[in-house]
């Protein structure tokens, strides 16, 4: 029930949208999404409600975080004092 899925908006009618989840299409309510959305946008959907627009620039930030986490040095990671 708690499983959220990202999907892409195909079309919008009033306060609902048809969202494509990698081939499966569902009608999704837009009442709770907190910014304007348009066809082509990716949204995170939970129990039939879009709860977030997933913006391109935010995805870039995630990829940058992966990069930082895999390369950042280990400075400051010290063994315990008694060890």
């Amino acid at each position: 029930m708690c499983l959220g899925a990202p999907g892409q908006i195909v079309e919008i009618t009033d306060s609902t949208a048809v969202v494509d989840f990698w081939g499966v299409r569902r009608r999704v309510a837009l009442d709770l999404v907190d910014e304007p959305v348009a066809a082509g946008d990716y949204v995170l959907v939970h129990v039939g409600f879009a709860i977030r627009r997933i913006a391109e620039e935010d995805l870039a930030e995630t990829l940058a975080f992966f990069e930082a986490m895999s390369t950042e040095d280990l400075e400051g990671l010290v063994p315990p004092k008694d060890g």
Binding site: C2, G4, A29, L44, V47, I51, T62, E72, G83
Partner: protein, 379 residues
């Protein structure tokens, strides 16, 4: 987001680098580190992608109370069964159907003739109620992400024959209980990215300040979890109690204000029992008085109070679900795991849902059931 971008979230080479980096961080720390995730979807992703088996040996990732199906209390299920047995139509999410109450499940009630139907969206409850004059009872379960959907339908001028039985739970309140439990060795928390999409990561700042333990909000792709664990181990090893947002493509500090506003208009936080864990102060989302007309607990109060208390199954008494969901035990510590308790015949709630720790461990073969204590008990 162009078509190829989602694939970058599963880049194999990046995954290798993050696993190596995680191993170096744990090695450098030079001791065992214990952290907890608070989300069934994290456990599911870890099992599906084999992450648990590839974690450094000195890093212990415990499971927290992150499965909404598992923490829905047995008396809540019994109450809804009572309503269904009285002839009312009950709608609920699919994974609630087979969760055992004290005596049976909604699925058992359905097999005996009660009208219990599965929905995948709260909107369907609204549509169903508008299409009939009979009472329609929506057994509304889950954490922040599903609670906002229930709030949204109640804000749409619902018909007066729709009744919501709210078993919604508020996760940050349960983290408080886990952090305060005596003997807890948890040094940091991996918080659920989807719930934080609603609440914002700022909701964890008072928790971090009070308990001096870091919280990293992480998503559900394998790289999200690995990068989140690297960040968390770094914070633990450096002794830096702060909140890190490792899921920036969905989570902001303030969260989804529109959804939170809907949640706060419809619900108030009350004290409530989390199955097998504790009565969690502020852990239960109850309908506000303004929505009393749609509250199944109030509308059917007489019927629910008259219902005889159901006796607990004998084999459920030594179910370890509560200990498993607070990091005090693992599924393999339970004698029923994979033997008497299986997905097709669950004794405890953790074996029911695809987000339940026991079902995940059994189906993804994270660890085999321990040998049966008596001859002939083995499957």
């Amino acid at each position: 987001m162009s078509g190829a971008r989602p694939l970058e979230l599963r880049d194999v080479e990046r995954g290798r680098k993050l696993r190596e980096r995680l191993a170096r961080a744990v090695e450098r720390a030079g001791r065992e580190i214990t952290v907890m995730h608070v989300c069934g979807s994290h456990e599911q992703a870890m099992a599906r992608y084999g992450l648990r088996q590839s974690l450094p040996r000195a890093l212990r990732v415990q499971m927290g109370p992150g499965c909404p199906v598992c923490v829905t209390d047995a008396p809540e299920i019994d109450a809804v069964i009572t309503l269904a047995e009285a002839g009312h139509l009950v709608l609920t999410y699919g994974d609630m159907l087979r969760v055992p109450g004290r005596a049976g499940s909604l699925d058992d009630a359905r097999a005996a003739g009660a009208r219990v139907e599965v929905i995948y969206s709260a909107t369907q409850a609204l549509e169903r109620a508008r299409a009939t004059r009979d009472p329609v009872i929506f057994f509304a379960t889950g954490f922040e992400t599903t609670a906002v959907a229930t709030a949204a339908i109640l804000l749409q001028a619902p018909p007066d024959n729709l009744f919501v039985y709210s078993a919604h739970k508020w996760v940050p309140a349960a983290m408080e209980v886990v952090a305060c439990s005596p003997g807890s060795r948890i040094e940091g928390y991996l918080a659920a990215g989807h719930a934080a999409t609603i609440t914002g990561y700022g909701v964890f700042e008072p928790f971090v300040a009070a308990h001096q333990r870091p919280v990293v909000v992480a998503g559900f792709e394998p790289l999200d979890i690995l990068a989140g664990l690297v960040s968390l181990v770094d914070l633990v090893a450096r002794g830096e109690p702060r909140v890190v947002n490792a899921f920036p493509r969905c989570v902001s500090r303030e969260g989804n204000r529109r959804a939170l506003d809907a949640l706060r208009r419809v619900f108030r936080a009350g004290d409530g029992e989390w199955r097998g864990i504790a009565c969690v102060p502020g852990g239960e989302l109850q309908l506000r008085d303004a929505y009393a007309a749609w509250d199944a607990m109030r509308r059917f109060e007489d019927l629910l109070e008259r219902a005889p208390e159901r006796a607990e199954r004998v084999d459920a008494r030594d179910c370890r679900c509560g200990a498993i969901m607070t990091g005090l035990a693992e599924p393999t510590d339970c004698a029923h795991f994979g033997v008497a308790c299986r997905p097709e015949s669950p004794i405890g709630a953790c074996m029911v849902s695809s987000e339940g720790p026991c079902r995940i461990w059994l189906e993804h073969r994270v660890a085999p059931p321990r040998p049966a204590a008596h001859e002939g008990d083995a499957p």
